[in-house]
Amino acid sequence: MKTLLQFKNVSKHYDKKTVALSDVSFSVNEGELVSIIGPSGAGKSTLLRCINRLIDATSGEIIFEDKDVLQIKNKSKMRALRTKIGMIFQNYNLVERLSVFENVLHGRLGYKSALVGALGFYSEEEKQQAIKILQSLGLDEQIYKRCDQLSGGQKQRVGIARALIQEPRVLLADEPIASLDPSSSKVIMDQLKKICSTLGITVLVNLHQLDVALNYSDRVIGISKGRVVYDGDPASLTDDHIQQIYGSDREALNLVVREPKEVAQKI
């Protein structure tokens, strides 16, 4: 299998005291669904944002499609990079006052000249593509609704549609189900799985629900205090590893994982 993304000794310091990532190295193959788990403040969001340069890493190399993204200085090259990387967020981050359709089409802005995109001109093919994606996500009845009238689960699906219309090679998901109820969470995770297996898009997803991570992912990367402490099969993640990732608070741990597979079945 081909390597799509590789972190080599990546570090990120926000200031002298806050070290969000230190010496992070791992690689991701094409078509994999990788979960990144860890407690709040571990550096998961920072890690994802370093890939599409929403945050600039302090040192190291991030190789995406055989090029180091940290070397990109040129604005148009940066836009070209970002079109290949879709991203969804915990708070959906849609333009709430615009329609579902317009929000999805925003995913095409990276391909357009500044003026055409600013005026909101989209080609018929792009519109058809948007409708097709919305249909596949079960949102065909909501196309002309304003986003502030949607439920959380629907908003997240709009977020996914906006990312998919970019025709990305990798999809980054920053806690996509943290604000959703269990049944919407399941819908979203199933969609991510489907995107990965049928479209061949690599998915990197930050999760703090360990059970979900274990159930859906091909591989788990555990980080704690900015360091990778586990990188491997979800099946071989032991209690010791979990303790290493989440710290030594036994009480809290028991709440998170007792019988991961069983808990996950319920949602």
Partner: protein, 286 residues
């Protein structure tokens, strides 16, 4: 005192040990609250001193109030035209209204660009601070003074009024607009950046649609202000319009009946504006 406190705490705690000797404060006294208190106190003292030292020599308070009411009665109960016809009055009213529209429009267009560069989430901190400081300075001087300042070079009249009023509108709307832009969720901007959208695309596709309602309502508020100011400018700066007629009636002909008509006309326009702004806002929101 001590006994009293003891008794009270007995009531509160049902005879248990007293935890609270003093009354519980709702808020902590901060520096800014202290400053506000001192200011209020100073103002109160000044007011009292003012009333005590006024020069009342020939003014009889009661008589003064009575004759003011008599004038009000003439204005509001017996309005009547004398020096011009109703259509002329309405034409002058339109002149005044146009002055308000023009200055608001000029202000809105320029303030839109300044507001974008003054918004901290769209611009960099330095540019934002420079623009914000500059418009704050302009705003600190009242509109009427700006008109008079421009009258030095343009002469008293409509030109000075347009420039001066636009000037103040720009600074007012720049502040209002930039604050509306800053309300936009940082995550939304981040998401569009992540899609590869450029800065102008983000402004046009996310920032403007999200803040449209508040932009419109601020612009309308400014229009209402500018309408009021243009009435005053007709008198004070010779900008023409209904304000000039009103000034002539009050200071020259001393015709309170005609002033009554003008007052009613202005009132009607003000109410119409209010009604229109409500309608537009509802339309934009849905």
């Amino acid at each position: 005192m001590a006994v009293d406190n003891q008794a009270r705490s007995t009531l509160i705690n049902g005879g248990g040990p007293s935890f609270q000797k003093e009354r519980i404060k709702l808020r902590l006294m901060s520096k800014s609250r202290l400053a506000i208190r001192l200011t209020m106190l100073a103002l109160a003292i000044l007011t009292v001193v003012g009333f005590l030292t006024f020069d009342y020599r020939d003014v009889h308070l009661l008589k003064g109030i009575m004759s003011t009411f008599a004038n009000f009665k003439t204005i509001f109960a017996q309005p009547q035209l004398a020096h011009f016809s109703l259509s002329e009055a309405i034409y002058q009213l339109l002149v005044t209204l146009s002055l308000g529209v023009l200055t608001t429009l000029i202000g809105a267009i320029i303030a839109l660009f300044l507001g974008i560069f003054a918004a901290e989430n769209l611009s960099n901190k330095k540019v934002s601070n420079v623009i914000k400081g500059f418009v704050a300075l302009i705003r600190a001087v009242p509109t009427v003074l700006w008109v008079l300042i421009f009258a030095v070079s343009a002469g008293l009249g409509s030109v000075a009024a347009v420039i001066g009023m636009s000037f103040h509108s720009i600074s007012y709307l720049t502040k209002a607009y930039s604050e509306s832009f800053e309300e936009l969720d940082a995550g939304t901007i981040e998401a569009l950046e992540g899609c590869g959208a450029s800065w102008w695309q983000i402004v046009c596709q996310a920032v403007l649609p999200s803040s449209l309602t508040s932009l419109i309502s601020w612009t309308f508020i400014r229009f209402e202000i500018n309408f009021g100011v243009s009435v005053a400018m007709g008198a004070a700066a010779g900008a023409g319009g209904i304000g000039y007629d009103m000034f002539m009636d009050s200071a020259f002909y001393y015709n309170l009946h005609e002033m009554g008509v003008i007052t009613y006309l202005i009132l009607v326009v003000a109410m119409l504006l209010e009604f229109m702004s409500l309608k537009i806002k509802n339309k934009v929101r849905s």
